[in-house]
């Protein structure tokens, strides 16, 4: 199902409480990101794309699901921009739309694994679906 609702940079600011225009593109967030190689849009580009209003591209990215929510980027940011909150806000605008749950209850049995703490599945459900 395609995304129906338009989301603006102002929506992201309202949801995240983060002013992306404070970013000076130093790259410390992307330098800190432990999952950099998996992120199709790394944190520093995420911030500038929010500022440029390119929200649709971000909503269609894989980065919003691949971000580990470790908050290393937010913790290291010298200007308190908190890229993790921006990523979270964009993800929320996607999964809150109709039919956009990224993880469905049906898919849980196939994910079960002895080595995987069940808590991780619970938090993934919280993170990826309504």
């Amino acid at each position: 199902m395609s995304l129906t609702n338009q989301v603006t940079a102002a929506d992201i600011l309202r949801i995240s409480g983060v002013d992306a225009s404070r970013c000076m593109q130093c790259g410390k967030c992307s330098g800190a990101c432990p999952n950099y190689d998996e992120m199709d849009i790394p944190p520093h580009r995420f911030a500038i794309m929010v500022r440029q209003g390119r929200i649709t591209e971000l909503m269609e990215s894989q980065a919003i699901y691949r971000c580990l929510s470790c908050f290393a980027c937010s913790q290291r940011c010298p200007r308190n921009v908190e890229p993790a909150k921006l990523i979270e806000a964009v993800r929320l605008t996607v999964i809150r739309q109709k039919g956009q749950n990224h993880m469905k209850a049906d898919s849980i049995p196939e994910k079960l694994d002895e080595k995987l703490p069940q808590q991780a599945i619970v938090s993934a459900m919280r993170k990826y679906s309504k």
Partner: protein
């Protein structure tokens, strides 16, 4: 009854764009006492002032109201105009319709209404103005320079060369400051010590300069031209006059636990030490925290070996009281504490160093004799990573760091990178940077030389993490131009830590009543037009105490501060402020409250015989020293019996203004 003239300035379009100046001039015509009212494009111009002079003569004005910019800007100008037309300068009132109306309002009707109200208030006040005469005070022809780094030394030399006495108070045992710690200086790579130490010697030998080292300002009173300073000369346990600086005591001292501050604590030193070979004064000092004799009463080896008999364990702090006409703040900076930046593993590895530590490692007189070695194992490094902007350019609400650019780091990092590549071509040097800021004569050429000629690898992007992996440091950072995350296994990491004002600056600012910004840099009287003066009269600023700057800029500012000091000390007397406090002897009951709040110590008491219809006898009355009073008004609001009043700003004048505004 006063005959008042009102002059409304357009300030080009600064005022006229938001305030209907003609309407203001017209409205004021109907005010009581106003006999003339007009407007003009630039009232401060020669034509505008001529218009004021002409109106004063033609209409026999007894006072004028100028509706213009802030009185800080042009009150003095219009007072001079009034004087030249025969008026007392204190018969001039300014209604600030620029900063308080046009610059803050967008709507013309609102701006105009407020301008009229402010002008009416000024007219109401002027009705109660009386001519005032300012007194004079003498000028002590001696300057005090606080801080003996390159800024303080340069200011002192320039002031002394003009023939005035200068005292330099330096808190460290030697003058020289941060510059003495540096190896080479950008952009010419000349040796820092080679250009600084001759200046130190010149200052020491100058007949007009008196260096008071290992001392701090203890207290200060007085005002411009007449400061009284108490200087605490800390006990160094060595007689400065006897010590020859031979250094025998420093070699024999058995205590080896003290950390060498001059070498950024990279090595240990004895309890008795001379900071560095070219120290001035070249006199040893005993660290009481480390000295066995002072701590336990046993030892005293230094005393036994001293052939000059200079060691004196009985020495106490000494207080010196002196008068000064001007004070120069040259307290300099320190690098911020890098331990808050543990994402760069500063606390985890001795091989992560700050730039100033690196400076000492590269210095021929430093702890490694200039050999580039890793602090952990003294091995030669092959891969060095420099990280810029550590703690600079952070927002105020960020967890740590400073909001400003520290200005000098881009250049000294290029210098370090170049020096390493020049001396050790086998070492790979990487510099992570956000922006390379190189404005300055020959600065960008210098930085490009590091890249093009010396092959320094500049990577645009910040480091996110440094972790210790065995003997190596794993550096993970961004390469923004290539859109990649980079990983480097480094042997050393150098942090270009932000600089901050010396920690003594805040207390000093309070003592001098000199204003500071939120980062503890001293504020200048005007950011563009009075950059070397503090808003506090008689206090001048030199060097990084005012804001981050490099050596050429510091020396230029030091000279500028000296010129201002000389301009002040040349005068034989200063005109005092005429708007001073005054006690009404009939109302004063001698309660002493005003004396307690006066920040300048201007109020004393005398027993005075009163012969009035209501009271006969002797009463204790407050007396204001008009030369000392700065007209701050603290006493007038404190006085419980309204006996204290400020000339030019009397209680009744202020109430008239309020009444006019509320009318």
């Amino acid at each position: 009854m006063q005959k008042i003239g009102v002059f409304v300035c357009w300030c080009g379009s600064n005022i006229a764009a938001t305030v209907d100046v003609k309407a203001v001039a017209e409205a004021l015509k109907s005010e009581a006492g106003v006999v003339f009212s007009t407007d003009y494009q630039y009232m401060c111009s020669e034509n505008g002032q001529a218009m004021i002079r002409q109106a004063i003569r033609e209409h026999g004005l007894t006072g004028i109201v100028v509706c213009s910019c802030s009185p800080r800007m042009h009150e003095a100008t219009f007072r001079k105009t009034a004087v030249s037309a025969g008026l007392n300068p204190y018969m001039v009132e300014i209604a600030n319709i620029r900063e308080q109306c046009s610059w803050i309002h967008k709507d013309m009707a609102e701006g105009t209404e407020k301008a009229i109200v402010l002008a009416r208030a000024a007219v109401a006040k002027l009705h109660k103005n009386a001519p005032l005469t300012a007194g004079t005070s003498p000028v002590t022809k001696r300057a005090l320079v606080i801080g003996g780094g390159i800024a303080g030394i340069q200011t002192a030399l320039d002031v002394a060369d003009a023939g005035f006495e200068v005292d330099i108070v330096e808190k460290a045992p030697t003058i020289g400051g941060r510059m003495a710690q540096l190896d080479k200086t950008f952009p010419t790579l000349d040796c820092s010590a080679c250009i600084l130490t001759p200046k130190m010697v010149e200052a020491a030998q100058h007949e007009k300069i008196n260096i008071i080292s290992y001392a701090e300002l203890d207290s200060l009173s007085g005002f411009v031209g007449n400061f009284t300073a108490t200087i605490r000369k800390k006990a160094r346990y060595i007689d400065e006059d006897k010590c020859t600086g031979c250094g025998v005591c420093t070699e024999k001292c058995p205590s080896r636990k003290g950390l060498d501050d001059f070498n950024m604590k990279l090595n240990k030193r004895g309890a008795v030490y001379i900071p560095f070979a070219q120290a001035i004064p070249n006199v040893a000092v005993i660290d009481p925290e480390q000295c066995l004799k002072l701590r336990t009463g046993k030892c005293g080896l230094c005393q036994k070996v001293c052939s000059a008999k200079a060691v004196n364990f009985e020495q106490k702090d000494e207080l010196i009281e002196r008068q000064y006409g001007a004070i120069v703040v040259a307290t300099g900076f320190k690098p911020i504490d890098a331990s808050a930046f543990n994402e760069y593993a500063y606390n985890d590895s001795p091989d992560v160093v700050t730039s100033l530590e690196f400076e000492r490692i590269m210095n021929a007189a430093g702890p490694t004799k200039g050999q580039l070695v890793r602090p952990s194992d003294r091995e030669h490094p092959h891969e060095i990573v420099f990280i810029q902007c550590v703690g600079s350019r952070c927002t105020e609400d960020a967890e740590k760091g400073k909001p400003y650019c520290s200005k000098i780091c881009c250049m000294y990092t290029a210098k370090h990178a170049m020096l390493v590549r020049e001396k050790y071509p086998d070492v790979n040097v990487h510099v992570f940077y956000i922006d390379a800021r190189t404005p300055g004569k020959n600065f960008d050429e210098f930085y490009r030389r590091a890249v093009e000629q010396y092959g320094v690898d500049y990577i645009k992007g910040m480091v996110g993490k440094v972790s210790v992996e065995g003997k190596k440091l794993h550096v993970q950072g961004s390469d923004l131009l290539n859109g990649e995350q980079v990983h480097i296994n480094a042997d050393m990491v150098v942090l270009a830590t932000a600089i901050e004002p010396d920690p003594t600056a805040r207390a000093l600012g309070t003592m001098l009543t000199a204003s500071m910004d939120t980062n503890d840099f001293f504020t200048e009287a005007h950011p563009k037009l009075r950059p070397v003066e503090s808003p506090t009269a008689g206090v001048f600023l030199s060097g990084v105490a005012q804001g981050p700057k490099d050596i050429p800029e510091t020396v230029a500012q030091a000279g500028a501060a000296a010129a201002k000091v000389i301009g002040l000390l040349c005068k034989n007397e200063l005109t005092c402020n005429a708007c001073v406090a005054h006690a009404n002897e009939a109302a004063c009951n001698g309660c002493s409250q005003c004396e307690r709040v006066c920040p300048y110590g201007a109020i004393s008491y005398e027993e005075r015989e009163i012969r009035s219809p209501e009271f006969r006898g002797v009463r204790r009355i407050a007396v204001v020293n008009e030369a000392v009073c700065q007209g701050c008004g603290a006493c007038t609001v404190t006085c419980p019996s309204a006996a204290m009043d400020l000339k030019g700003f009397t209680n009744s004048q202020i109430m008239s203004e309020v009444d006019a505004i509320c009318r």
